[in-house]
Subunit: 240 residues, 2 copies
């Protein structure tokens, strides 16, 4: 009845999905009584939160590919292999599910970008590595897509909280851009927004049969890095 919130999210996948679908089929095909169907469920509830994790995972994927408004609780439930009402045992509402998708996605994305940066030494190389990591997460993973893709279609009530979390991620780029030597006349704010815009917009036109995300990211980044290629680091003052 009540929904236990705030559980820690565990990892680990199982075959429960398959089994649960079989149960549904059984019920539909032979009209078995509710009691028999319930009794048919194996009692291997060893990892109590793997189902919550499954919901979170599939919701991330679906929100990322179709958008929040175009994804129904029924879509998510059937992807996980359970009935629509059961989703509400794990999440209080569709909005709460979105909030959880956001939190997990932001955390994972920040970690991925930080990991990609750490080996690089120069500011421009660090920014480029971040851009490549960003676009890979966006196009291949689905976690960032759920967060960044459709800011307009999200429920107004939760929008402020979502924007705040998105800002946490953008702060990483704000810091990286601050370290870089920008040409005269280019403000760091517009530069960051233009770079992220160029990368995020790839969601609209990218096709999987084209160049891989890393190549696309580097081609796009070259547009922004040009100044640096022309003027070696630190030589900004020498300009005409």
């Amino acid at each position: 009845m009540a929904c236990p919130q705030g559980r820690p999210s565990l990892h680990g996948s199982r075959q429960r999905v398959q089994r649960s679908i079989n149960v549904i089929f059984t019920k539909r095909l032979f009209g078995g009584s509710p009691t028999r169907v319930t009794a048919a469920l194996p009692l291997d509830s060893t990892k109590p939160d793997s189902r919550r994790h499954d919901i979170l995972h599939h919701a991330t994927q679906l929100f990322g590919s179709r958008g929040y408004g175009q994804t129904s609780i029924r879509d998510i439930a059937s992807a996980v292999g359970m009935l629509p009402g059961s989703v509400y045992y794990h999440f209080a509402s569709k909005e709460a599910l979105l909030a959880a998708v956001y939190t997990e996605g932001i955390e994972r994305s920040i970690a991925a970008v930080e990991a990609a940066i750490v080996a690089k030494t120069t500011p421009w190389d660090r920014l480029e590595a971040a851009a490549v990591a960003h676009l890979s997460l966006l196009l291949a993973d689905g976690a960032l897509a759920a967060i960044i893709a459709d800011g307009r279609n999200q429920p107004i009530a939760a929008r402020d909280a979502l924007v705040q979390q998105r800002n946490r991620y953008e702060a990483v780029f704000r810091r990286l851009v601050a370290d870089v030597d920008l040409p005269p006349g280019v403000q760091s704010g517009p530069f960051r927004l233009a770079l992220l815009g160029a990368l995020n917009w790839a969601l609209t036109w990218y096709r999987p049969d084209g160049d891989p995300p890393e190549v696309v990211a580097r081609d796009l980044f070259a547009v922004f890095r040009t100044n640096q290629t022309t003027y070696p680091l630190g030589s900004r003052e020498i300009q005409p």
Copy 2:
């Protein structure tokens, strides 16, 4: 019954909306018989297509601000001041309405960008003027927003036709970018996609209480024009 399609879209606004709402109120408050309500309609049907134009206009605005999936036929009908079913007298389906919004919006946008370009002489000035016009249409007008904003939420059936129309608009920028002197190592494809991405992404973060669209467009464009500022037109070959 049948829907007369392909009528020319006329301009001109009237007070019909107000009146139509009054009719609805009358009916709800006093339960007037259908015959009386119909008879109460003034017979000034001089411009037979102004209602179709009204629908198109409000649909453009709503698709642009909320997106296609988040806008219902009922929303559009009540904005125009008629009942939901009546929309289908003018358009065969919601998808057909979207197609019409596209066609009209693309036409208007191409015209606006061409008009903004015509006075400018150098390739970089022409491209900048196009960028400014583009962002103004996108943020203030609503016509371009309906077209460009949510490619993901549009119905799959019509998507190909929509992409084709969008390409007609992008072709204008393809031509302008081709005329511009790009720095070595920068491909014109990624350059165009990065520029349009940077501009279009402003839909996500732009707030009306900030700088006006023209200023935002110029700030963003400066990021892409830097190379040009450094190297005067035609001096590309002189580089180290």
